[in-house]
Protein backbone atom coordinates (compact mmCIF):
# COMPACT_ATOMS: atom_id res chain seq x y z
CA UNK A 1 0.00 0.00 0.00
CA UNK A 2 2.80 2.35 0.90
CA UNK A 3 4.54 1.29 -2.28
CA UNK A 4 1.53 2.14 -4.43
CA UNK A 5 1.13 5.48 -2.69
CA UNK A 6 4.73 6.42 -3.38
CA UNK A 7 4.32 5.46 -7.03
CA UNK A 8 1.19 7.59 -7.16
CA UNK A 9 2.99 10.68 -5.99
CA UNK A 10 6.31 10.48 -7.76
CA UNK A 11 5.47 9.08 -11.20
CA UNK A 12 2.10 10.68 -11.93
CA UNK A 13 3.49 12.32 -15.07
CA UNK A 14 3.69 8.95 -16.76
CA UNK A 15 0.10 8.10 -15.91
CA UNK A 16 -1.36 10.49 -18.45
CA UNK A 17 -0.17 8.49 -21.41
CA UNK A 18 -1.30 5.18 -19.89
CA UNK A 19 -4.83 6.45 -19.35
CA UNK A 20 -4.94 7.99 -22.82
CA UNK A 21 -3.69 4.80 -24.41
CA UNK A 22 -6.27 2.72 -22.60
CA UNK A 23 -9.04 5.10 -23.70
CA UNK A 24 -7.90 4.70 -27.30
CA UNK A 25 -7.63 0.93 -26.99
CA UNK A 26 -11.12 0.72 -25.46
CA UNK A 27 -12.60 2.75 -28.31
CA UNK A 28 -10.82 0.59 -30.88
CA UNK A 29 -12.10 -2.66 -29.38
CA UNK A 30 -15.62 -1.73 -28.29
CA UNK A 31 -17.09 0.77 -30.68
CA UNK A 32 -19.28 -0.43 -33.53
CA UNK A 33 -18.87 2.50 -35.87
CA UNK A 34 -15.85 2.17 -38.14
CA UNK A 35 -14.92 5.86 -37.98
CA UNK A 36 -15.00 5.81 -34.18
CA UNK A 37 -12.66 2.82 -34.24
CA UNK A 38 -10.30 4.74 -36.50
CA UNK A 39 -10.37 7.68 -34.08
CA UNK A 40 -9.59 5.29 -31.20
CA UNK A 41 -6.63 3.95 -33.15
CA UNK A 42 -5.37 7.49 -33.65
CA UNK A 43 -5.72 8.28 -29.93
CA UNK A 44 -3.78 5.14 -28.99
CA UNK A 45 -0.92 5.99 -31.34
CA UNK A 46 -0.81 9.57 -30.03
CA UNK A 47 -0.51 8.29 -26.46
CA UNK A 48 2.56 6.26 -27.39
CA UNK A 49 4.07 9.38 -28.97
CA UNK A 50 3.51 11.21 -25.66
CA UNK A 51 5.30 8.45 -23.80
CA UNK A 52 8.39 8.63 -25.98
CA UNK A 53 8.62 12.41 -25.79
CA UNK A 54 8.29 12.23 -22.01
CA UNK A 55 11.39 10.03 -21.89
CA UNK A 56 13.51 12.89 -23.20
CA UNK A 57 12.61 15.56 -20.66
CA UNK A 58 15.40 17.03 -18.54
CA UNK A 59 15.05 19.54 -15.70
CA UNK A 60 16.22 23.08 -16.53
CA UNK A 61 17.13 22.18 -20.09
CA UNK A 62 16.14 23.95 -23.29
CA UNK A 63 15.17 22.77 -26.76
CA UNK A 64 17.89 20.97 -28.72
CA UNK A 65 18.91 23.85 -30.99
CA UNK A 66 22.33 25.32 -30.37
CA UNK A 67 21.67 29.02 -30.62
CA UNK A 68 25.18 30.38 -30.82
CA UNK A 69 25.44 28.47 -34.04
CA UNK A 70 28.62 28.56 -36.01
CA UNK A 71 30.50 31.31 -34.29
CA UNK A 72 30.69 29.44 -31.03
CA UNK A 73 33.79 27.42 -31.61
CA UNK A 74 34.93 28.20 -28.10
CA UNK A 75 31.52 27.75 -26.49
CA UNK A 76 31.31 24.39 -24.86
CA UNK A 77 28.06 22.56 -25.43
CA UNK A 78 27.01 20.70 -22.31
CA UNK A 79 24.67 17.80 -22.71
CA UNK A 80 22.71 18.65 -19.59
CA UNK A 81 21.65 22.02 -21.07
CA UNK A 82 19.63 20.50 -23.88
CA UNK A 83 16.84 17.97 -23.77
CA UNK A 84 17.30 14.58 -25.34
CA UNK A 85 16.83 14.95 -29.11
CA UNK A 86 16.55 11.25 -29.93
CA UNK A 87 12.92 10.65 -28.82
CA UNK A 88 11.83 13.67 -30.85
CA UNK A 89 13.47 12.23 -33.93
CA UNK A 90 11.86 8.83 -33.39
CA UNK A 91 8.49 10.39 -32.85
CA UNK A 92 8.67 12.41 -36.06
CA UNK A 93 8.79 9.04 -37.76
CA UNK A 94 5.98 7.64 -35.60
CA UNK A 95 3.69 10.59 -36.34
CA UNK A 96 4.21 10.16 -40.07
CA UNK A 97 3.50 6.44 -39.79
CA UNK A 98 0.32 7.16 -37.82
CA UNK A 99 -0.88 9.62 -40.48
CA UNK A 100 -0.16 7.13 -43.25
CA UNK A 101 -2.10 4.38 -41.45
CA UNK A 102 -4.96 6.82 -40.90
CA UNK A 103 -5.03 7.56 -44.64
CA UNK A 104 -5.15 3.90 -45.64
CA UNK A 105 -7.77 3.11 -42.99
CA UNK A 106 -9.99 5.94 -44.25
CA UNK A 107 -9.59 4.76 -47.84
CA UNK A 108 -10.71 1.26 -46.80
CA UNK A 109 -13.64 2.74 -44.86
CA UNK A 110 -14.73 4.61 -48.00
CA UNK A 111 -14.58 1.34 -49.92
CA UNK A 112 -16.73 -0.37 -47.26
CA UNK A 113 -19.25 2.46 -47.46
CA UNK A 114 -19.37 2.25 -51.22
CA UNK A 115 -20.20 -1.43 -51.01
CA UNK A 116 -22.60 -1.64 -48.05
CA UNK A 117 -23.98 1.87 -47.76
CA UNK A 118 -23.35 2.02 -44.02
CA UNK A 119 -20.44 2.33 -41.61
CA UNK A 120 -21.96 0.52 -38.61
CA UNK A 121 -20.59 -2.94 -38.00
CA UNK A 122 -23.86 -4.46 -36.72
CA UNK A 123 -25.76 -3.32 -39.79
CA UNK A 124 -23.07 -4.80 -42.02
CA UNK A 125 -23.22 -8.10 -40.12
CA UNK A 126 -27.00 -8.24 -40.44
CA UNK A 127 -26.69 -7.55 -44.15
CA UNK A 128 -24.13 -10.34 -44.55
CA UNK A 129 -26.28 -12.76 -42.58
CA UNK A 130 -29.25 -11.99 -44.78
CA UNK A 131 -27.07 -12.41 -47.85
CA UNK A 132 -25.85 -15.81 -46.67
CA UNK A 133 -29.39 -17.13 -46.37
Amino acid sequence: MDDILSILISKYNYWGYIILMMVGLYALIIKKNLVKKIIGMSIMQTAIIFFYVSIGVKKNATIPIITHGHNGAADIVRASDYINPLPHVLMLTAIVVAVATLGVALALAIKVYRHYGTLEEDEIHDFLKKQAE
Binding site: M21, L25, L28, L34, K37, M41, M44, Q45, I48, F51, Y52, I55, L86, P87, L90, T93, A94, V97, A100, T101, V104, A105, A107, L108, A109, K111, V112, H115, Y116, I124, L128
Partner: protein, 494 residues
Protein backbone atom coordinates in the same frame (compact mmCIF):
# COMPACT_ATOMS: atom_id res chain seq x y z
CA UNK B 1 30.49 -3.53 -54.62
CA UNK B 2 30.29 -6.78 -52.72
CA UNK B 3 30.91 -4.96 -49.43
CA UNK B 4 27.73 -3.08 -50.02
CA UNK B 5 25.41 -6.05 -50.53
CA UNK B 6 23.63 -5.39 -47.23
CA UNK B 7 22.66 -1.97 -48.53
CA UNK B 8 22.02 -3.08 -52.11
CA UNK B 9 19.56 -5.75 -51.10
CA UNK B 10 17.26 -2.98 -49.89
CA UNK B 11 18.24 -0.03 -52.07
CA UNK B 12 17.77 -1.66 -55.47
CA UNK B 13 14.18 -2.82 -54.82
CA UNK B 14 13.40 0.54 -53.19
CA UNK B 15 14.59 2.55 -56.18
CA UNK B 16 12.88 0.11 -58.53
CA UNK B 17 9.60 0.55 -56.68
CA UNK B 18 9.78 4.30 -57.22
CA UNK B 19 10.67 3.75 -60.86
CA UNK B 20 7.72 1.37 -61.30
CA UNK B 21 5.37 3.91 -59.74
CA UNK B 22 6.59 6.53 -62.22
CA UNK B 23 6.51 4.28 -65.29
CA UNK B 24 2.99 3.22 -64.36
CA UNK B 25 1.93 6.66 -65.53
CA UNK B 26 4.12 6.75 -68.62
CA UNK B 27 4.45 3.28 -70.10
CA UNK B 28 2.73 0.41 -68.34
CA UNK B 29 4.50 -2.42 -70.14
CA UNK B 30 7.78 -1.72 -68.37
CA UNK B 31 6.45 -2.29 -64.85
CA UNK B 32 6.81 -6.07 -64.85
CA UNK B 33 10.39 -6.21 -66.19
CA UNK B 34 11.58 -3.65 -63.63
CA UNK B 35 9.97 -5.69 -60.84
CA UNK B 36 11.65 -8.86 -62.11
CA UNK B 37 15.00 -7.06 -62.19
CA UNK B 38 14.54 -5.81 -58.61
CA UNK B 39 13.60 -9.23 -57.25
CA UNK B 40 16.43 -10.91 -59.14
CA UNK B 41 19.01 -8.50 -57.68
CA UNK B 42 17.58 -9.07 -54.18
CA UNK B 43 17.77 -12.83 -54.60
CA UNK B 44 21.35 -12.60 -55.81
CA UNK B 45 22.38 -10.33 -52.92
CA UNK B 46 20.62 -12.57 -50.40
CA UNK B 47 22.39 -15.71 -51.60
CA UNK B 48 25.72 -13.86 -51.79
CA UNK B 49 25.25 -12.57 -48.23
CA UNK B 50 24.47 -16.04 -46.91
CA UNK B 51 27.58 -17.44 -48.57
CA UNK B 52 29.62 -14.59 -47.11
CA UNK B 53 28.30 -15.32 -43.63
CA UNK B 54 29.15 -19.00 -44.05
CA UNK B 55 32.73 -18.23 -45.06
CA UNK B 56 33.54 -15.14 -42.99
CA UNK B 57 31.15 -15.05 -40.07
CA UNK B 58 28.93 -12.11 -39.20
CA UNK B 59 28.56 -9.31 -41.71
CA UNK B 60 28.13 -5.84 -40.22
CA UNK B 61 27.34 -2.75 -42.26
CA UNK B 62 27.20 0.81 -40.95
CA UNK B 63 24.60 2.95 -42.69
CA UNK B 64 25.55 6.58 -43.20
CA UNK B 65 29.05 5.73 -42.02
CA UNK B 66 28.15 6.06 -38.33
CA UNK B 67 28.99 3.21 -36.03
CA UNK B 68 26.32 1.90 -33.68
CA UNK B 69 24.82 2.85 -31.27
CA UNK B 70 24.88 6.35 -32.81
CA UNK B 71 23.91 5.23 -36.27
CA UNK B 72 21.92 2.36 -37.70
CA UNK B 73 23.79 -0.88 -38.30
CA UNK B 74 22.87 -3.95 -40.29
CA UNK B 75 23.93 -7.22 -38.76
CA UNK B 76 23.68 -10.40 -40.77
CA UNK B 77 24.34 -13.76 -39.20
CA UNK B 78 23.15 -17.29 -40.00
CA UNK B 79 19.57 -16.75 -38.85
CA UNK B 80 19.25 -13.56 -40.87
CA UNK B 81 20.86 -14.97 -43.93
CA UNK B 82 18.57 -18.00 -44.13
CA UNK B 83 15.38 -15.98 -43.80
CA UNK B 84 16.64 -13.41 -46.34
CA UNK B 85 17.08 -16.12 -48.96
CA UNK B 86 13.63 -17.54 -48.18
CA UNK B 87 11.89 -14.17 -48.54
CA UNK B 88 13.73 -13.21 -51.72
CA UNK B 89 13.15 -16.60 -53.34
CA UNK B 90 9.42 -16.69 -52.57
CA UNK B 91 8.95 -13.16 -53.88
CA UNK B 92 10.87 -13.92 -57.08
CA UNK B 93 9.01 -17.14 -57.92
CA UNK B 94 5.67 -15.59 -57.08
CA UNK B 95 6.25 -12.72 -59.50
CA UNK B 96 6.11 -15.07 -62.48
CA UNK B 97 3.30 -17.18 -61.16
CA UNK B 98 0.87 -14.34 -60.62
CA UNK B 99 1.50 -12.35 -63.77
CA UNK B 100 -1.65 -13.55 -65.55
CA UNK B 101 -3.96 -13.06 -62.60
CA UNK B 102 -2.62 -9.54 -62.08
CA UNK B 103 -3.24 -8.70 -65.73
CA UNK B 104 -6.74 -10.08 -65.30
CA UNK B 105 -7.68 -8.39 -62.04
CA UNK B 106 -5.97 -4.99 -62.23
CA UNK B 107 -5.39 -4.16 -65.88
CA UNK B 108 -5.06 -0.38 -65.44
CA UNK B 109 -3.38 -0.32 -62.06
CA UNK B 110 -0.32 -2.34 -62.96
CA UNK B 111 2.02 0.46 -61.88
CA UNK B 112 0.69 0.81 -58.32
CA UNK B 113 0.31 -2.95 -57.93
CA UNK B 114 3.90 -3.78 -58.77
CA UNK B 115 5.14 -0.79 -56.78
CA UNK B 116 3.23 -2.07 -53.73
CA UNK B 117 4.51 -5.60 -54.42
CA UNK B 118 8.16 -4.52 -54.50
CA UNK B 119 7.68 -2.22 -51.48
CA UNK B 120 6.15 -5.11 -49.52
CA UNK B 121 9.15 -7.31 -50.25
CA UNK B 122 11.50 -4.42 -49.42
CA UNK B 123 9.76 -4.00 -46.08
CA UNK B 124 10.12 -7.69 -45.25
CA UNK B 125 13.76 -7.84 -46.36
CA UNK B 126 14.46 -4.77 -44.25
CA UNK B 127 12.83 -6.33 -41.20
CA UNK B 128 15.04 -9.37 -41.56
CA UNK B 129 18.35 -7.67 -42.22
CA UNK B 130 18.27 -4.83 -39.70
CA UNK B 131 20.03 -4.72 -36.37
CA UNK B 132 18.25 -1.67 -35.01
CA UNK B 133 15.01 -2.01 -33.11
CA UNK B 134 13.36 1.21 -34.25
CA UNK B 135 14.33 0.68 -37.88
CA UNK B 136 12.51 -2.63 -37.60
CA UNK B 137 9.35 -0.80 -36.55
CA UNK B 138 9.44 1.54 -39.55
CA UNK B 139 9.95 -1.33 -41.97
CA UNK B 140 7.24 -3.31 -40.17
CA UNK B 141 4.85 -0.49 -40.95
CA UNK B 142 5.91 -0.38 -44.61
CA UNK B 143 5.23 -4.10 -44.94
CA UNK B 144 1.95 -3.71 -43.08
CA UNK B 145 0.65 -0.74 -45.10
CA UNK B 146 1.40 -2.40 -48.42
CA UNK B 147 -0.22 -5.58 -47.13
CA UNK B 148 -3.39 -3.71 -46.16
CA UNK B 149 -3.65 -2.17 -49.61
CA UNK B 150 -2.89 -5.40 -51.47
CA UNK B 151 -5.43 -7.37 -49.44
CA UNK B 152 -8.12 -4.70 -49.58
CA UNK B 153 -8.58 -4.83 -53.32
CA UNK B 154 -10.68 -7.97 -53.50
CA UNK B 155 -14.40 -7.93 -54.06
CA UNK B 156 -17.18 -8.21 -51.58
CA UNK B 157 -15.98 -8.55 -48.03
CA UNK B 158 -12.33 -7.77 -48.74
CA UNK B 159 -12.33 -4.07 -47.66
CA UNK B 160 -14.05 -4.89 -44.36
CA UNK B 161 -11.68 -7.80 -43.67
CA UNK B 162 -8.71 -5.63 -44.54
CA UNK B 163 -9.98 -2.84 -42.27
CA UNK B 164 -10.13 -5.32 -39.39
CA UNK B 165 -6.59 -6.31 -40.27
CA UNK B 166 -5.65 -2.59 -40.12
CA UNK B 167 -7.05 -2.29 -36.61
CA UNK B 168 -5.43 -5.39 -35.21
CA UNK B 169 -2.18 -4.85 -37.07
CA UNK B 170 -1.93 -1.30 -35.70
CA UNK B 171 -2.50 -2.55 -32.15
CA UNK B 172 0.27 -5.10 -32.69
CA UNK B 173 2.74 -2.62 -34.15
CA UNK B 174 1.93 -0.03 -31.46
CA UNK B 175 2.57 -2.59 -28.74
CA UNK B 176 5.89 -3.45 -30.34
CA UNK B 177 6.76 0.27 -30.45
CA UNK B 178 5.78 0.66 -26.79
CA UNK B 179 7.98 -2.31 -25.85
CA UNK B 180 10.94 -0.75 -27.67
CA UNK B 181 10.16 2.49 -25.82
CA UNK B 182 10.38 0.69 -22.50
CA UNK B 183 13.71 -0.85 -23.53
CA UNK B 184 14.96 2.61 -24.53
CA UNK B 185 13.83 4.01 -21.20
CA UNK B 186 15.77 1.32 -19.38
CA UNK B 187 18.95 1.23 -21.45
CA UNK B 188 19.12 4.41 -23.54
CA UNK B 189 19.99 2.60 -26.75
CA UNK B 190 18.15 1.36 -29.81
CA UNK B 191 20.69 -1.01 -31.34
CA UNK B 192 19.87 -4.67 -30.69
CA UNK B 193 23.38 -5.81 -29.85
CA UNK B 194 23.90 -2.79 -27.61
CA UNK B 195 20.67 -3.43 -25.72
CA UNK B 196 21.64 -7.08 -25.25
CA UNK B 197 24.92 -5.93 -23.70
CA UNK B 198 23.24 -3.43 -21.37
CA UNK B 199 20.33 -5.57 -20.21
CA UNK B 200 21.92 -8.17 -17.94
CA UNK B 201 22.39 -5.68 -15.09
CA UNK B 202 18.73 -4.76 -15.06
CA UNK B 203 17.08 -8.14 -15.56
CA UNK B 204 15.28 -7.78 -12.24
CA UNK B 205 13.64 -4.49 -13.19
CA UNK B 206 9.90 -4.34 -13.83
CA UNK B 207 10.54 -2.19 -16.89
CA UNK B 208 12.44 -4.96 -18.68
CA UNK B 209 9.82 -7.54 -17.78
CA UNK B 210 7.05 -5.30 -19.07
CA UNK B 211 9.04 -4.57 -22.24
CA UNK B 212 9.30 -8.29 -22.88
CA UNK B 213 5.59 -8.93 -22.32
CA UNK B 214 4.44 -5.98 -24.41
CA UNK B 215 6.81 -6.77 -27.31
CA UNK B 216 5.74 -10.41 -27.34
CA UNK B 217 2.04 -9.49 -27.24
CA UNK B 218 2.47 -7.12 -30.15
CA UNK B 219 4.32 -9.76 -32.17
CA UNK B 220 1.72 -12.41 -31.32
CA UNK B 221 -0.97 -10.14 -32.74
CA UNK B 222 1.03 -9.56 -35.92
CA UNK B 223 1.76 -13.26 -36.45
CA UNK B 224 -1.84 -14.34 -35.77
CA UNK B 225 -1.11 -16.50 -32.74
CA UNK B 226 -4.26 -17.88 -31.14
CA UNK B 227 -6.23 -16.20 -29.50
CA UNK B 228 -5.17 -13.04 -31.32
CA UNK B 229 -5.62 -14.57 -34.75
CA UNK B 230 -9.08 -13.23 -35.59
CA UNK B 231 -7.95 -10.99 -38.43
CA UNK B 232 -6.24 -13.65 -40.52
CA UNK B 233 -8.96 -16.00 -41.87
CA UNK B 234 -11.17 -13.25 -43.27
CA UNK B 235 -8.33 -11.13 -44.58
CA UNK B 236 -6.71 -14.04 -46.43
CA UNK B 237 -9.89 -15.69 -47.66
CA UNK B 238 -11.40 -12.71 -49.48
CA UNK B 239 -8.21 -11.26 -50.92
CA UNK B 240 -7.41 -11.27 -54.64
CA UNK B 241 -5.36 -14.29 -55.68
CA UNK B 242 -2.69 -12.04 -57.10
CA UNK B 243 -1.70 -10.78 -53.65
CA UNK B 244 -2.45 -13.71 -51.39
CA UNK B 245 0.26 -16.00 -52.69
CA UNK B 246 2.79 -13.28 -51.84
CA UNK B 247 1.45 -12.25 -48.46
CA UNK B 248 0.40 -15.59 -46.96
CA UNK B 249 3.75 -17.44 -47.10
CA UNK B 250 5.77 -14.49 -45.85
CA UNK B 251 4.05 -12.24 -43.30
CA UNK B 252 3.62 -14.63 -40.41
CA UNK B 253 7.01 -16.30 -40.94
CA UNK B 254 8.88 -12.98 -40.83
CA UNK B 255 7.03 -12.09 -37.61
CA UNK B 256 8.13 -15.44 -36.16
CA UNK B 257 11.69 -14.50 -37.16
CA UNK B 258 11.33 -11.18 -35.29
CA UNK B 259 10.11 -13.07 -32.23
CA UNK B 260 13.10 -15.42 -32.40
CA UNK B 261 15.43 -12.47 -32.86
CA UNK B 262 14.04 -10.61 -29.86
CA UNK B 263 13.87 -13.66 -27.63
CA UNK B 264 17.33 -14.97 -28.46
CA UNK B 265 19.43 -11.92 -29.34
CA UNK B 266 17.98 -8.97 -27.45
CA UNK B 267 16.73 -10.81 -24.37
CA UNK B 268 19.31 -13.57 -24.30
CA UNK B 269 18.32 -17.19 -23.54
CA UNK B 270 19.32 -16.55 -19.94
CA UNK B 271 16.37 -14.20 -19.57
CA UNK B 272 13.89 -15.77 -21.94
CA UNK B 273 14.18 -19.35 -20.82
CA UNK B 274 15.74 -19.51 -17.40
CA UNK B 275 14.71 -16.49 -15.38
CA UNK B 276 11.24 -16.59 -16.79
CA UNK B 277 8.63 -19.22 -16.25
CA UNK B 278 6.65 -18.17 -19.28
CA UNK B 279 8.20 -20.74 -21.61
CA UNK B 280 5.91 -23.48 -20.35
CA UNK B 281 2.86 -21.26 -20.68
CA UNK B 282 3.81 -20.30 -24.22
CA UNK B 283 4.27 -23.95 -25.21
CA UNK B 284 0.85 -24.79 -23.81
CA UNK B 285 -0.62 -21.76 -25.62
CA UNK B 286 0.98 -23.02 -28.82
CA UNK B 287 -0.47 -26.49 -28.28
CA UNK B 288 -3.95 -25.02 -27.76
CA UNK B 289 -3.45 -22.85 -30.86
CA UNK B 290 -2.60 -25.88 -32.98
CA UNK B 291 -5.58 -27.88 -31.74
CA UNK B 292 -8.12 -25.07 -32.04
CA UNK B 293 -6.92 -23.98 -35.47
CA UNK B 294 -7.09 -27.55 -36.77
CA UNK B 295 -10.60 -28.00 -35.42
CA UNK B 296 -11.73 -24.68 -36.91
CA UNK B 297 -10.21 -25.69 -40.24
CA UNK B 298 -12.41 -28.79 -40.27
CA UNK B 299 -15.59 -26.74 -40.37
CA UNK B 300 -14.64 -24.63 -43.39
CA UNK B 301 -16.26 -25.11 -46.74
CA UNK B 302 -13.91 -23.18 -48.96
CA UNK B 303 -10.33 -24.00 -49.84
CA UNK B 304 -8.75 -20.61 -49.07
CA UNK B 305 -10.33 -20.29 -45.63
CA UNK B 306 -9.24 -23.80 -44.74
CA UNK B 307 -5.68 -22.96 -45.80
CA UNK B 308 -5.82 -19.77 -43.69
CA UNK B 309 -6.62 -21.82 -40.57
CA UNK B 310 -3.81 -24.21 -41.45
CA UNK B 311 -1.44 -21.20 -41.46
CA UNK B 312 -2.59 -20.37 -37.92
CA UNK B 313 -1.79 -23.93 -36.85
CA UNK B 314 1.65 -23.69 -38.47
CA UNK B 315 2.36 -20.50 -36.50
CA UNK B 316 1.58 -22.54 -33.39
CA UNK B 317 4.25 -25.08 -34.43
CA UNK B 318 6.92 -22.40 -34.72
CA UNK B 319 6.04 -20.54 -31.53
CA UNK B 320 5.95 -23.78 -29.55
CA UNK B 321 9.23 -24.87 -31.12
CA UNK B 322 11.01 -21.69 -30.02
CA UNK B 323 9.71 -21.72 -26.46
CA UNK B 324 10.62 -25.36 -25.92
CA UNK B 325 14.03 -23.87 -25.28
CA UNK B 326 16.19 -26.76 -26.37
CA UNK B 327 18.34 -27.33 -29.43
CA UNK B 328 15.94 -29.61 -31.27
CA UNK B 329 12.97 -27.38 -30.66
CA UNK B 330 14.58 -24.18 -31.92
CA UNK B 331 16.14 -26.03 -34.86
CA UNK B 332 12.67 -27.29 -35.69
CA UNK B 333 11.24 -23.77 -35.47
CA UNK B 334 13.88 -22.26 -37.78
CA UNK B 335 13.65 -25.18 -40.20
CA UNK B 336 9.89 -24.78 -40.18
CA UNK B 337 10.23 -21.14 -41.24
CA UNK B 338 11.93 -22.32 -44.44
CA UNK B 339 9.64 -25.26 -45.00
CA UNK B 340 6.41 -23.53 -44.16
CA UNK B 341 7.14 -20.64 -46.53
CA UNK B 342 7.65 -23.15 -49.35
CA UNK B 343 4.61 -25.26 -48.45
CA UNK B 344 2.30 -22.28 -48.08
CA UNK B 345 3.50 -20.86 -51.39
CA UNK B 346 2.82 -24.19 -53.07
CA UNK B 347 -0.71 -24.66 -51.76
CA UNK B 348 -1.74 -21.04 -52.25
CA UNK B 349 -0.44 -21.03 -55.83
CA UNK B 350 -2.40 -24.22 -56.46
CA UNK B 351 -5.51 -22.66 -54.92
CA UNK B 352 -4.92 -19.59 -57.06
CA UNK B 353 -4.81 -21.75 -60.16
CA UNK B 354 -8.07 -23.38 -59.12
CA UNK B 355 -9.69 -19.98 -58.67
CA UNK B 356 -8.33 -18.80 -62.01
CA UNK B 357 -10.07 -21.59 -63.86
CA UNK B 358 -13.11 -22.36 -61.72
CA UNK B 359 -13.84 -18.83 -60.42
CA UNK B 360 -15.06 -20.37 -57.12
CA UNK B 361 -13.27 -22.31 -54.46
CA UNK B 362 -15.99 -23.83 -52.32
CA UNK B 363 -15.89 -27.60 -52.04
CA UNK B 364 -18.98 -28.17 -54.16
CA UNK B 365 -17.24 -26.71 -57.18
CA UNK B 366 -14.26 -29.03 -56.93
CA UNK B 367 -15.94 -32.08 -58.38
CA UNK B 368 -13.78 -33.91 -60.86
CA UNK B 369 -11.13 -31.25 -60.81
CA UNK B 370 -8.35 -33.84 -60.79
CA UNK B 371 -9.06 -34.72 -64.36
CA UNK B 372 -9.51 -31.16 -65.50
CA UNK B 373 -6.35 -29.76 -63.94
CA UNK B 374 -4.03 -32.67 -63.24
CA UNK B 375 -0.80 -30.72 -62.85
CA UNK B 376 -2.15 -28.13 -60.39
CA UNK B 377 -3.77 -30.87 -58.35
CA UNK B 378 -0.55 -32.90 -58.38
CA UNK B 379 1.25 -29.90 -56.90
CA UNK B 380 -1.54 -29.57 -54.35
CA UNK B 381 -1.08 -33.24 -53.43
CA UNK B 382 2.65 -32.73 -52.82
CA UNK B 383 1.92 -29.58 -50.77
CA UNK B 384 -0.69 -31.46 -48.77
CA UNK B 385 1.68 -34.35 -48.09
CA UNK B 386 4.23 -31.84 -46.84
CA UNK B 387 1.73 -30.14 -44.53
CA UNK B 388 0.61 -33.52 -43.21
CA UNK B 389 4.23 -34.46 -42.66
CA UNK B 390 4.95 -37.40 -44.94
CA UNK B 391 8.58 -38.19 -45.79
CA UNK B 392 10.47 -37.37 -47.98
CA UNK B 393 8.78 -33.96 -48.26
CA UNK B 394 10.28 -31.22 -46.09
CA UNK B 395 7.31 -30.89 -43.75
CA UNK B 396 8.10 -34.27 -42.21
CA UNK B 397 11.59 -33.22 -41.11
CA UNK B 398 10.62 -30.00 -39.36
CA UNK B 399 7.82 -31.83 -37.56
CA UNK B 400 10.33 -34.53 -36.58
CA UNK B 401 12.66 -31.98 -34.98
CA UNK B 402 9.73 -30.34 -33.18
CA UNK B 403 8.55 -33.69 -31.79
CA UNK B 404 12.09 -34.55 -30.68
CA UNK B 405 12.34 -31.18 -28.98
CA UNK B 406 9.00 -31.69 -27.28
CA UNK B 407 10.03 -35.10 -25.96
CA UNK B 408 13.39 -33.70 -24.77
CA UNK B 409 11.68 -30.92 -22.84
CA UNK B 410 9.01 -33.18 -21.45
CA UNK B 411 6.21 -31.20 -23.07
CA UNK B 412 4.05 -34.11 -24.09
CA UNK B 413 1.02 -31.89 -24.57
CA UNK B 414 2.80 -30.17 -27.43
CA UNK B 415 3.80 -33.49 -28.98
CA UNK B 416 0.21 -34.70 -28.74
CA UNK B 417 -1.01 -31.48 -30.39
CA UNK B 418 1.46 -31.96 -33.26
CA UNK B 419 0.29 -35.51 -33.91
CA UNK B 420 -3.36 -34.47 -33.62
CA UNK B 421 -2.77 -31.72 -36.14
CA UNK B 422 -1.20 -34.14 -38.61
CA UNK B 423 -4.25 -36.41 -38.36
CA UNK B 424 -6.63 -33.49 -38.86
CA UNK B 425 -4.62 -32.33 -41.87
CA UNK B 426 -5.02 -35.82 -43.35
CA UNK B 427 -8.78 -35.50 -43.03
CA UNK B 428 -8.79 -31.95 -44.43
CA UNK B 429 -6.84 -32.73 -47.52
CA UNK B 430 -8.25 -36.14 -48.28
CA UNK B 431 -11.68 -34.58 -48.28
CA UNK B 432 -10.55 -32.40 -51.18
CA UNK B 433 -8.89 -35.31 -52.93
CA UNK B 434 -11.99 -37.43 -52.59
CA UNK B 435 -14.26 -34.75 -54.02
CA UNK B 436 -11.81 -33.89 -56.76
CA UNK B 437 -10.86 -37.39 -57.80
CA UNK B 438 -13.73 -39.70 -57.22
CA UNK B 439 -16.74 -37.54 -57.93
CA UNK B 440 -17.62 -37.07 -61.58
CA UNK B 441 -17.19 -33.63 -63.12
CA UNK B 442 -20.17 -31.32 -63.60
CA UNK B 443 -20.26 -31.46 -67.36
CA UNK B 444 -20.48 -34.70 -69.27
CA UNK B 445 -18.84 -34.58 -72.66
CA UNK B 446 -19.83 -36.73 -75.58
CA UNK B 447 -16.52 -38.57 -75.61
CA UNK B 448 -17.05 -39.56 -71.97
CA UNK B 449 -13.84 -38.10 -70.58
CA UNK B 450 -13.17 -34.56 -69.33
CA UNK B 451 -10.67 -32.53 -71.33
CA UNK B 452 -7.61 -31.15 -69.60
CA UNK B 453 -8.10 -27.40 -69.08
CA UNK B 454 -5.01 -26.29 -67.28
CA UNK B 455 -3.93 -22.80 -66.49
CA UNK B 456 -1.48 -21.09 -68.84
CA UNK B 457 2.10 -22.34 -68.77
CA UNK B 458 3.50 -19.30 -66.99
CA UNK B 459 1.28 -20.03 -63.99
CA UNK B 460 2.05 -23.73 -64.06
CA UNK B 461 5.84 -23.79 -64.29
CA UNK B 462 6.55 -21.82 -61.06
CA UNK B 463 4.07 -24.06 -59.23
CA UNK B 464 5.90 -27.17 -60.44
CA UNK B 465 9.21 -25.62 -59.41
CA UNK B 466 7.93 -24.98 -55.89
CA UNK B 467 6.45 -28.48 -55.61
CA UNK B 468 9.78 -29.96 -56.68
CA UNK B 469 11.49 -27.67 -54.18
CA UNK B 470 9.46 -29.22 -51.35
CA UNK B 471 10.95 -32.61 -52.09
CA UNK B 472 14.46 -31.25 -52.70
CA UNK B 473 14.38 -29.36 -49.40
CA UNK B 474 13.39 -32.61 -47.74
CA UNK B 475 16.39 -34.44 -49.15
CA UNK B 476 18.80 -31.66 -48.22
CA UNK B 477 17.47 -31.20 -44.67
CA UNK B 478 20.55 -32.75 -43.13
CA UNK B 479 22.85 -30.32 -44.95
CA UNK B 480 20.70 -27.33 -44.07
CA UNK B 481 20.56 -28.23 -40.40
CA UNK B 482 24.21 -29.12 -39.98
CA UNK B 483 25.75 -26.33 -42.02
CA UNK B 484 23.40 -23.44 -41.42
CA UNK B 485 20.88 -23.80 -38.64
CA UNK B 486 23.31 -25.29 -36.16
CA UNK B 487 25.27 -22.03 -36.16
CA UNK B 488 22.16 -19.87 -35.97
CA UNK B 489 21.44 -20.98 -32.44
CA UNK B 490 23.14 -18.91 -29.78
CA UNK B 491 25.46 -20.49 -27.28
CA UNK B 492 23.99 -21.67 -24.04
CA UNK B 493 21.10 -23.74 -25.35
CA UNK B 494 20.96 -27.33 -24.20
Amino acid sequence: MSNHFPALIIVVPLLSAFLIAATGWIRRILCFPIAVFAMAVSLYCAVALLLKVVSNGQVIYHLGGWSPPWGIAYQIDYLNGIVLVVVAAVAFINLFATRSSVALEFPEKLGPFYALYVLFVTGLLGIVVTGDAFNLYVLLEIAALTGYALLGMGEGRAPLASLNYVFMGTIGASFYLLGIGYLYLATGSLNMADIAALLPEIYHSKVVLLAFIICMTGLFIKMAMFPLHLWLPDAYAYSPSASISLIAPLTTKVMVYVMIRIALTVFTPRFSFASLKVSTSFVWLAAIAIVMASILALSQRSVKKMLAYIIIAEVGYMVGGLWLGNRNGITGAILHIINDAAMTLCVFLAAGNLLFKLKQDSFDHLKGVFRKMPFSMAALVIGALSIIGVPPTCGFFSKWYLILGGVDAGQYGFVAALIFSSLVNVVLFFRIFEIGFFEPAQEHHSSGSTPVEEVPLEMLVPLMVVAALLVILGFYTGDIVNNLIRFALPAGIA
